[in-house]
């Protein structure tokens, strides 16, 4: 298999984007990535699009986007793995290049979510759970993570303060990210006075629905080196699943898919968790970031809360986590998120992140969860 590198990135403004259609959002980041890579787009051999179809009235958006980008007759299709759809597109693209089927490809993550009402979105998202035995009782997405949080608090002594620390950290960094949806810091009061959504989770424990797009251009090693002198290599890929149904999970204090995906990615890249300098992890809820740092081996099992509250995941701590604001402050356009994470890590490894740059970042990681852990993709990036 050939080594695969990222040679161009594009990232749009996340948030309420009632100024543009989905394909127009996609074009913004495509334009940026083509300019960033400084290639002739005719060189792009295929496009994979991560997006979750149910939020769009346009069906089969991959075809519409490929047309709007002007990339017909090159192939495209859509990948869906709930909130990890963007990482599924990236994995597909990586495999096509590594195999030799393609030399240069585009990975597009995009989503418009704000056309639907919040209750409709809660309804749709709840149906990422098993509809036959769970959604029939009105389960919601925050409801599932509330079940996880309750067990984690009970077993490991995780506290309200630990959850709040995640939200505050991510808003602190979101304030520094020009593409983030929320660019304001928040204090403990703000989090703890926010309305309960699903006990013990409050509004400020939850990420926000957003519109947005992000994209990557990948190339095989030889071509990548000809095109660019700042290639970031995608050297470790992991992907795993866990039962869709919370009724079939042995333990709710971990996402087994994340543990397995991380194991694969570390092994493939030949690194230990301690070598990761900067990570974007899937903080759809505050408790999810606590699970993530444990599942990824950044701290001991059960110690995610104190680890984060002690500042170890801030810049200057043991490992910088979600210093782009995370899903919490950057916003979570579900199909775009996995690609957005990769864009952030590429920019960190290139040293382009200005006042939220992690100094000396040479190894970075993304951890993108679909649903409540049904899917997890972990990727390890490296600069030379």
């Amino acid at each position: 298999m050939r080594r695969v590198g990222v040679i161009g990135v594009g990232h749009g403004r996340f948030g309420l984007r009632d100024d543009a259609s989905l394909q127009e959002l996609a074009f913004e980041v495509y334009r940026e990535a083509v300019a960033d890579a400084a290639i002739d787009p005719q060189e792009i051999g295929a496009t994979w699009i991560g997006s979750v179809p149910e939020y769009h009235k346009q069906r089969s958006v991959a075809g519409v986007i490929q047309e709007y980008l002007g990339l017909d007759p090159r192939p495209t299709w859509l990948t869906e793995a709930a909130c990890a759809s963007g990482s599924a597109a990236l994995h597909t693209a990586w495999t096509a290049v590594a195999s030799g089927m393609q030399d240069v490809v585009l990975v597009m993550g995009c989503q418009k979510m704000t056309e639907l009402e919040t209750a409709a979105i809660l309804g749709l998202m709840g149906r990422v759970g098993d509809v036959q035995w769970e959604s029939v009782f009105g389960s919601t997405f925050p409801g599932y993570y509330a079940l996880f949080a309750r067990q984690h608090m009970d077993r490991h002594g995780t506290t309200r303060d630990h959850l709040s620390a995640v939200a505050m950290k991510n808003h602190d960094y979101g304030a520094l990210n020009p593409k983030a949806m929320f660019r304001k810091t928040i204090d403990r009061q703000k989090v703890e006075n926010s309305k309960l959504v699903a006990d013990p989770l409050r509004v400020f424990d939850c990420c926000a629905n957003a519109d947005g797009a992000a994209c990557l251009i990948l190339a095989a090693e030889g071509r990548a080196r000809e095109i660019s002198d700042r290639v970031v290599w995608l050297d470790g890929l992991g992907v795993a699943t866990a039962p869709m149904s919370v009724l079939r999970r042995e333990d709710l204090c971990t996402l087994p898919s994340a543990v397995e995906a991380a194991r694969q990615a570390y092994a493939m890249a030949g690194i230990e968790p301690s070598q990761v300098r900067v990570a974007d992890v899937h903080d759809c809820f505050t408790i999810a970031e606590i699970l993530a740092v444990e599942d990824l081996g950044f701290c001991d099992r059960g110690q995610g809360g104190p680890f984060i509250a002690a500042g170890e995941t801030r810049i200057g701590g043991r490992i910088a986590v979600n210093v782009d604001g995370g899903l919490k402050a950057k916003g979570h356009p579900i199909g775009a998120t996995g690609v957005s994470m990769a864009v952030e890590i590429v920019r960190q490894l290139r040293g382009e992140c200005e006042d939220r740059q992690v100094s000396g970042a040479d190894v970075g990681l993304t951890h993108n969860v679909g649903g409540i852990g049904q899917y997890c993709f972990v990727n390890v990036f490296r600069r030379e």
């Binding site: 009782f137 009105g138 389960s139 079940l147 067990q151 009724l247 709710l252």
Partner: protein, 141 residues
């Protein structure tokens, strides 16, 4: 028949629907058991995850179990807006398997903790003008 299961329905057809719902209507909680290898499942499955056989038998279970986790939903999905707040309890069943279910009127969620003994009770009631069958979690007396 499965369309009448739960507060709302998203599954119009399933091989395990009719028997399971008929059981609930009679106040019985049924698990599936593989006729080939004996693997038991709650919730029921039409196909054995162990040996792939499609022959299933039904066994009645007591519904007794322990609280694995719980939450109170305060932001409702479409269709259940007037139902909030409602509490969901995840129950590890004594006879294997797990259920997610509504907290019944007799269960004080404020007093609940993980590990508490509870019981799944089959029940029927009118929800949004439809007769629904489901189960609720009650204190195990």
């Amino acid at each position: 028949m499965f369309e009448s299961f739960g507060l709302v329905s998203f599954t119009s057809h399933t091989k395990v629907g009719d028997v399971f719902v008929a059981g609930l209507v009679e106040g019985r909680l049924l698990a599936s058991r593989c006729a080939s290898c004996g693997e038991q499942s709650f919730p029921p499955r039409a196909d054995c995850v162990v040996c792939r056989s499609g022959d299933l038998e039904w066994v009645e279970i007591s519904g007794r179990g322990r609280v694995s986790s719980f939450t109170t939903i305060r932001a409702a999905p479409v269709g259940l807006e007037e139902w909030v707040p409602y509490s969901l309890v995840l129950v590890d069943l004594e006879e294997g398997g797990r259920a997610l279910a509504l907290a019944g009127a007799g269960l004080d969620v404020g007093e609940l903790s993980l590990g508490t003994s509870v019981r799944l009770n089959p029940c029927r009631s009118e929800v949004n003008d439809e007769l629904r069958v489901y189960y609720e979690v009650e204190a195990d007396s």
